[in-house]
């Protein structure tokens, strides 16, 4: 029972993503929101933040319910790749594009002044002449408990606006922290993003009374961050994400990779970006291809992300590897299931993770994984996976070759996984989350 307090859930991200195929964070939010909508029913209100108007607005529960119910009925693998470009990225792209164009046309000053005038006219055309219906702002009440767990760094000024509301209405703020990788390792993010993310995280920690962290490592990292930067620390709590997968009824070989049916292959499921360390595997396979004739294929499943153009060029251009390393993206859940079922084992050499769902996914399919020993990954795989230093190419080469040559070694590890790996369901995770949330509301 909530003692007369209202739970206000910020669904900005859920609303913005609608029914689009969602990134992991959006799916986490939808899973928890789905459970909380029925648990708190009359005591829950939904709001969203509008960056343009710099204000919060109410959101109809039935609209959101249809989005989260739909998510829970999808029957797809829980976490797959991004296909929506975030707002900040669009802004940066537009800024850079505009800069280039302006630089070029400024040489012709008359043309430039005409374009400036045209730009103003276009802006004026799209501006509503007179708003017939002004949407009322969401009204926060004293002692509301506000929770947000979306992609908040995408919404310019949101945390600042929230801080004002928090102080004005004495509301309690609960935030979800997935990781602070963009702060710890700005080199793995595109230019300009770590600055945006750092601002978000500093402001979010000033707003927060309580922070749910998705791993012990994330909790350690964020607590250290607050301490180092003299931010009055909120309380932190680890909440374990679910690892259950809604498996499709049947598996299908990917239509554009039917050749895999006759090959041995190793699987790496992850967006392709600098931090995930596909580069290590490129070196490993280069080394193995040079030394041995019989080596398995390496299959990357994931969308192209940040800072990997050179790597992808190298893979394509390398005559030894272009048939050995296969890139697949946009695979269906049925195809992904086939890939998991038929691979020798999986690899995950990421430099850092806030959790590491692909490792949990691999274990859920009963597949052994060779995994990086960094960040939160040891929390996910415990002693069921094998850990290697993500910088040690020699160790990875040696172990991948050993396992590829002796399938009995893999079978032993797989039978251990089948015996001992407990799949933590999303339903259980949501129940635990609700207990923690209720405690925080009543504090």
């Amino acid at each position: 029972m909530i003692q007369g307090k209202r739970l206000v859930w910020d669904v900005t991200t859920v609303v913005r993503w609608g029914n689009a195929h969602a990134v992991g964070i959006v799916r986490v939010e939808k899973n928890y929101l789905y459970a909380c909508l029925s648990e708190f029913s009359d005591n829950i209100e939904l709001c969203r933040y509008d960056s343009g108007k710099k204000a919060f607005f109410g959101v109809d529960k039935t609209v959101v319910l249809s989005l989260v119910v739909d998510e829970n009925k999808r029957g797809k693998s829980e976490f797959s790749d991004v296909n929506i470009i975030p707002a900040w990225k669009l802004k940066l792209k537009y800024k850079n594009f505009k800069k280039k164009v302006v630089r070029r046309i400024k040489k012709h000053s008359k043309l430039y002044s005409n374009i400036v005038i045209l730009e103003k006219k276009i802006a004026g055309f799209f501006k509503p002449k007179k708003e017939e219906h002004v949407e009322p702002e969401f009204i926060f009440l004293k002692n509301d408990v506000y929770i947000t767990m979306g992609l908040d760094w995408d919404y310019d000024g949101k945390m600042k606006a929230l801080y004002e509301k928090k102080n004005k209405h004495t509301i309690k703020v609960i935030v979800m922290c997935y990781d602070i990788i963009s702060i710890l390792f700005p080199q793995y993010t595109p230019k300009g993003f770590s600055q945006i993310f750092t601002r978000y995280m500093v402001d979010a920690m000033w707003c927060a009374d309580h922070v749910f962290c998705i791993s012990k490592k994330t909790k350690e990292d964020i607590a250290q961050f607050c301490n180092d930067l003299f931010i009055n620390a909120p309380t932190f709590e680890v909440i374990r994400l679910g690892s259950s997968i809604k498996k499709p009824s049947s598996a299908i070989i990917p239509s554009n990779a039917t050749f895999l049916d006759e090959k041995k292959f190793v699987l790496f499921v992850s967006s392709i970006e600098g931090r995930k360390n596909h580069m290590l595997l490129y070196y490993v396979w280069s080394y193995l291809a040079e030394k041995y004739t019989d080596i398995p294929n390496l299959v990357f499943v994931g969308m192209k992300g940040w800072l990997v153009d050179d790597l992808l060029y190298s893979i394509n251009a390398n005559p030894e590897l272009k048939d050995k390393i296969n890139l697949l993206h946009g695979v269906s859940d049925e195809e992904l299931m086939w890939l998991y079922q038929n691979c020798l084992f999986t690899v995950f050499p990421s430099f850092y993770e806030g959790w590491g769902l692909p490792v949990a996914e691999s274990l859920s399919y009963g597949k052994f994984c060779i995994c990086s020993d960094r960040g939160s990954l040891p929390e996910v795989g415990a002693d069921l996976v094998e850990y290697l230093d993500p910088y040690d190419t020699t160790a990875w080469s040696k172990r991948i070759k050993e396992l590829s040559d002796d399938v009995s070694l893999i079978s032993q590890r797989e039978s251990e996984i089948l015996k001992r790996y407990n799949i933590y369901s999303w339903e259980e995770s949501a129940k635990t989350f609700i207990i923690s949330l209720r405690r925080k509301i009543n504090d």
Binding site: M159, K160, Y163, E164, N167, I183, P186, K191, G192, S194, Q195, I196, T198, R199, V202, D203, W206, C207, L229, F230, I231
Partner: protein, 404 residues
Amino acid sequence: MIRVLMLGTYPIKKPYHGGQIRVSEILKSLRKQNIEAEYVSVCYERAYKKDELTKNDIPLGLGVDSRGYYDDNPFFLDLQTGYYSVHNIRIWNELNTKVQKFKPDYIQIEQMYMYPFYAAIKEKYPEIKLVYSSHNVEYLLKSMILQQYKVSKYDEAINHIKEQEVAAIKDSSFVIAVSDSDIDFIKQYRTTNIYHIKNGISKKEFTETNVNKWRKQIGNSFALYVGSAHPPNLIGFKDLMLPLTYLTPSQKVIVVGGVGDMITSEIWNNRDSDIYTHVNSDRFINLGRLDESDLAAVIQLARVIVLPLNYGSGSNLKTAEALLSGKYIVATSKSMVGYEDFIGTEGLFLSDSNEVFRRNVQKCLSNTDLIISDKELERRNVVLWDNILMGIGDLYYKTKIEQY
């Protein structure tokens, strides 16, 4: 009546930075205390607006910076000024004419840069005595600035500055110094006739209209930093205050004075490599230069005044202003040089490490406004120029009698 010709390297018609204010106040006090005083500068005119200059400010002249003295390095403009006061015929003639017309008993040099001119004119008029008005230990400060800006291969220039500084100390009838630590340096070269004249301030008057105007724009939940475009001001701010993560999203650091542009450049020049760029720019407002009445209003609104000075000597005029404001003060030992008597008074937090400095700023901003007793405020009036410079004229009369 005693006549004193003061020489410096910047104009003082519209005094803004610490050196200008000190020179301007000394000039006013001498005149009030029955001394006929004039101030003449040789200055790099392009650094000032036209209405900041008078006929007593002799321009270095366009193109003077391409004459090659110390590689035209802008860090040595002041040293170049002293050099050209002797080696440039036009400048020498203009200064010589001033001396001939004014017939000073004393030439008082503000800092040591115009010492070469005194040394040369003394050959012509040996009866003119020197007074050395030190503002800090210049060669040390210059050396630190060059290190910070990674300007190398100028050991000779630093030695040159030190030589002039020592010569001025030795050659003068008396020396005026700003702080105890400066006096310690001076005492290595002379033991008598050293007078300690701290920096002071004039009382700033604010109007309610101005305060209300600024309240609408900047509120009152901010730490105020007032500083000129003097490199140590930037370095102290960077070392002790950045990144501004310890401020809540609604708190700000407001900067007034030339250092604001330097901080803005610092933040934006590092925007690709510094992950705190947006945090800093959200929490930082540069008001630039303000006139006295606006500055008074902004001071009135500030919750805390910060003095993040971590190297350099002399005494910071801003310290006196901060003390007189009756606001919380977060200061370093360096910034309290000359004002040690006030360390430990209510609302003043001495903070020499960046951790303590930030924690104290945070503490002051989350407190309610400081209410300081009338008695303590009265005690702080000793920082006013009128009180500090009360006996300066007597130094000349006393010295004149001794020399007679």
